[in-house]
């Protein structure tokens, strides 16, 4: 039978190995190949401030961990009962005031240091003054999609947020006001900022200033019902010119086309217009996403499926097939109606 002592080595050995692997994995190359939602790969000032604080916190807690871990390890090895034990009880030590004082004062000092570093970052992130040239967006959380309004630009869209890239020397941040139309949600795009909740009757705000163009991913981070998992976020960071062009195009009403008049009629006579808006037509529902420029988006159903004609048709036929529990009802349309309707929606660029 293996001795008690070497049993113990294996316990601790396996624990060390596991801890090292975790740390390595976490700190490994934080570039997108590891994950597009890696909190250790910041691309915007709020995320960077948090990242720097996290390095400090990890350094402190890591040091404490190593110190106490090795003390524990040492004690279970050194003070194990030997096979040739004489059966006498060891010296009965009841305590030591000096030692207690030491390991009270030192943790208090560590806590003070951690607290000061933390308080500074809270202030930096939460009390940033709004810049005049900032883009203002109102994000409204719904079950289970995101509504975006740019009041100054006259743009209303859904699910894919476009913002201009921000040059660190001449920042053009985007300030996002967070509201909710129903239950609690949370806006989390890890590479750009920490998460902030969207709570009805409790407006919140956050800001981002992405330094590099690209698409940044995230998703809702506060359980909001059946399809919480598929309330995905995509933020399209574009150059200033591209962004302005996008905003210009989004603020136009839809263009009428004759070839899809049948589809448009179906759209306007079925219940679609109760929930959806198509600017420039009679459709002005607010319950579901604005569809004026539906085809300018890469995905539908808040990222649940790619925006292709087949998926669009499948979605309208039965939303539950793609996103079971979504609040859009199946419209009971026949095949020809579906074809016409899809063709019409395909014109909403």
């Amino acid at each position: 039978m293996r001795s008690q002592g070497s049993n113990n080595w294996r316990v601790l050995g396996s624990q060390i190995l596991v801890c090292v692997c975790c740390s390595a994995a976490a700190f490994a190359d934080p570039a997108p190949p590891l994950s597009p939602t890696n909190i250790f790969a910041p691309a915007s000032t709020p995320a960077s401030s948090i990242f720097e604080l996290s390095l400090f916190v990890l350094a402190v807690t890591g040091t404490i961990f190593l110190a106490v871990f090795f003390l524990l390890l040492y004690s279970v090895v050194k003070f194990r009962k030997r096979k040739n034990d004489d059966g006498r009880e060891p010296p009965q030590v009841y305590g030591s005031n000096q030692v207690e004082l030491a390991w009270t004062i030192i943790p208090i000092l560590i806590v003070v240091a951690l607290f000061m570093a933390t308080a500074r970052v809270i202030a930096t992130v939460q009390e940033t003054a709004r810049l005049d040239n900032a883009i203002e967006v109102i994000a409204i959380g719904h079950q289970f999609w995101w509504e975006y309004r740019y009041p100054a630009l006259g743009v209303v869209t859904a699910n894919e947020l476009h913002v201009p890239v921000s040059d660190p020397d001449h920042p053009t941040p985007t300030f996002i006001k967070l509201l909710s139309a129903d239950t609690d949600h949370s806006f989390w795009v890890p590479r750009l900022a920490g998460k902030t909740d969207l709570i009805p009757n409790h407006p919140n705000s956050m800001w981002i200033d992405p330094h590099k163009t690209g698409v940044y991913l995230g998703q809702c981070a506060q359980y909001c019902g059946t399809q919480h998992a598929k309330m995905l976020l995509s933020i399209y960071v574009q150059s200033r010119e591209d962004f302005d062009r996008w905003a210009q195009q989004q603020s136009q009403p839809s263009q009428e086309g004759d070839s899809t008049a049948a589809g448009q009629r179906i759209f306007e006579t079925t219940a679609c217009i109760n929930c959806h808006t198509v600017a420039g037509t009679v459709a002005s529902g607010r319950f579901g996403p604005d569809l004026t420029h539906l085809m300018s988006r890469d995905t539908i159903a808040a990222g649940a499926a790619k925006n292709t004609p087949e998926n669009l048709r499948r979605w309208i036929l039965n939303p539950d097939a793609i996103k079971p529990g979504s609040l859009m009802p199946a419209m009971q349309l026949s095949d020809p109606e579906l074809d016409a309707l899809t063709a019409y929606l395909e014109t909403l660029r």
Partner: protein, 557 residues
């Protein structure tokens, strides 16, 4: 009434019918039997909630899996969390407290035996009510629905608008009912410890187990009551047209969060203090030394109790409370790390210079020390509010709290099972099976909960029934799921060990561990009246004094 062992279906044939046996157990007011009932009840729900967790992990083993539907998944995580907290951990800890406190303080029973029984049955009924929702939540018109609102049931998801049917009501009522049971037990624990200690056992001489449960009782009294209040408010909203959490009428969803977490945070200290109690009894005995720094341990416990009432909004850092509030809760949360850390150091110092015996209870407690250290440190990370803005509501938090509850509390609970099993049953458990259980569970725990931190760091939120491929989460989720099967195997070995040892174990005698507190001075299992005569004590370790009359503790304390 028999004066020897409490009537388990014993190995010597007794000519009592099964109905008589059951009746005795149902009407019992004996703290030892009620303790057993709590523990057995909790073990049944441990298996149920464990199966719920297993299904959750199978669903999450790969992206876009369809093992269960989103509706079922959402019910599973709600039921898993609610069951584990209210119908596994709390009852099992109350069970051990009920069983051991009178024995440790030299009393014959708890202060209020009938209140004790009432509290148990209230808790038991609450659990049944929660699971009845599976059948009854749609008003019996069709299959029922378990609640799917998450264990903290944020408003307005719980309003009639978003939670149709009755599943939310079953959640609310089940917790309301079991809450009354918890408060009853807490009042009983406080009254017992304050009023029924044997002669000579001043507060400064009672076992740390009693101190930790005393503070736990105080916390239950102060913390479960806010939950009761919040649930009454929720019922007023749902059935009387009230507007407490009705955002359309100017109500606040955030105030539900405040009320819930004013309960929810002290609740986790309610869960962890008894775990500390187990560690504080087991580690000294298997290190062959008294606990290092008894008075400091008491002080730290009381400090933890107080501070824990002031940290609740660290669960709400992302809610938009403003930087002043965020800053306050950072400092209060970091402050609680200090007395908690002191405890770890004191346990370490208890082992230091001792002669450690690696029996199964001690193995679990040693693992607890390492794991609780990690859990505490990830807690410190979470207390830094901006870091929390990334880590909060993600799998990092799920990993953190499971590290505390499984790696900390459940491990010491296993230690407690093995340590006190000989006392409760009169038999020794199988050390081989105990060690097998330990290794299986240790491996499974670390596979699951170490690696679970990583998807959180890579952006995976909690409570999602599936996830997108290409986010770097896939492999980690596979490893996490594999660990579950090792843990399940460990639990099966554990349950098997309990059963086998109960029937086939060697007789344990009254003091198999050569320990020092009063429960080891009476028979195993103790007679219904606990002690032949009420003892008088002179120190914290009365049996040490008896065994070492030339070197008694009271000369040094």
């Amino acid at each position: 009434m028999s004066t020897d062992s409490i009537a388990w279906p014993s190995t010597t044939a007794e000519s009592r019918s099964l109905v008589d046996h059951l009746h005795e157990w149902i009407v019992t007011v004996d703290h030892k039997r009620l303790g057993m009932l709590y523990i057995l009840y909790a073990l049944v729900f441990l298996v149920i909630a464990g199966i719920e967790a297993t299904i959750i992990r199978i669903q999450l083993i790969r992206p876009h899996n369809d093992f269960v539907s989103p509706q079922v998944f959402n019910r599973l995580f709600t039921m898993h969390g609610t069951t584990m907290i209210f119908f596994v951990t709390m009852p099992i800890l109350f069970g051990f407290a009920n069983y051991l406190i009178p024995l440790m303080i030299g009393a014959r029973d708890m202060a209020f035996p009938r209140l004790n029984a009432f509290s148990f049955w209230m808790t038991a009924f609450g659990g049944l009510l929660l699971y009845f929702s599976l059948v009854g939540a749609n008003g019996l018109y069709g299959a029922g629905n378990a609640p799917d609102i998450g264990w903290f049931a944020y408003a307005p998801l719980t309003s009639q608008t978003f939670s149709l049917g009755h599943s939310t009501d079953f959640w609310t009522l089940a917790l309301l009912v079991s809450g009354f049971g918890s408060i009853g037990t807490a009042i009983n624990i406080v009254a017992t410890i304050v009023c029924m200690r044997c002669p000579g056992m001043t507060l400064a001489k009672m076992p740390l187990f009693a101190w930790l449960n005393l503070v736990m009782g105080g916390l239950v009294i102060l913390a479960v009551s806010p939950l009761t209040a919040a649930q009454i408010m929720l019922l007023v909203d749902r059935y009387l047209g009230g507007h407490f959490f009705d955002t359309q009428a100017g109500g606040s969803a955030v105030i539900w969060m405040h009320f819930f977490w004013i309960f929810g945070h002290p609740e986790v200290y309610v869960l962890v203090l008894p775990a500390f109690a187990f560690a504080s009894e087991i580690i000294p005995v298997f290190s062959r030394k008294p606990i290092f720094g008894y008075s400091v341990m008491v002080g730290a416990t009381v400090a933890i109790g107080f501070i824990s009432m002031s940290v609740w909004a660290h669960h709400m850092f992302t809610v938009g409370m403003g930087s002043a509030a965020n800053t306050f809760f950072v400092i209060s949360t970091m402050a609680i790390a200090v007395p908690t850390g002191i405890k770890i150091f004191n346990w370490l110092a208890t082992m230091w210079g001792g002669k450690i015996e690696f029996r199964t209870p001690m193995l679990f407690c040693i693992a607890f020390l390492f794991q609780f250290l990690v859990a505490g440190l990830t807690g410190v990370m979470l207390s830094a509010a901006p870091f929390n803005w990334q880590l909060g509501s993600s799998y990092f938090v799920v990993a953190h709290f499971h590290y505390v509850i499984v790696g900390g509390i459940l491990f010491t609970l296993f230690g407690a099972f093995y340590y006190w099993f000989p006392k409760m049953s009169g038999k020794m458990y199988s050390e081989t099976l105990g060690k097998l259980h330990f290794w299986l569970f240790l491996i499974g725990f670390h596979l699951t909960f170490d690696f679970m931190h990583i998807p959180g760091l890579l952006g995976m939120p909690r409570r999602i029934y599936t996830y997108e491929p290409g986010r770097g989460w896939d492999t980690w989720n596979v490893i996490v799921t594999i660990g579950v099967f090792f843990q399940a195997a460990g639990i099966l070995v554990f349950l098997g060990n309990l059963l086998w040892s109960y029937y086939r174990g060697k007789a344990a005698g009254s003091d198999p561990w050569d320990a020092w507190t009063l429960e080891w001075s009476t028979n195993s299992p103790p007679p219904a009246y606990n002690f032949y005569t009420i003892p008088t004590v002179q120190s914290r370790r009365p049996l040490w004094d008896l065994k070492h009359p030339d070197d008694p503790d009271w000369k040094y304390e």
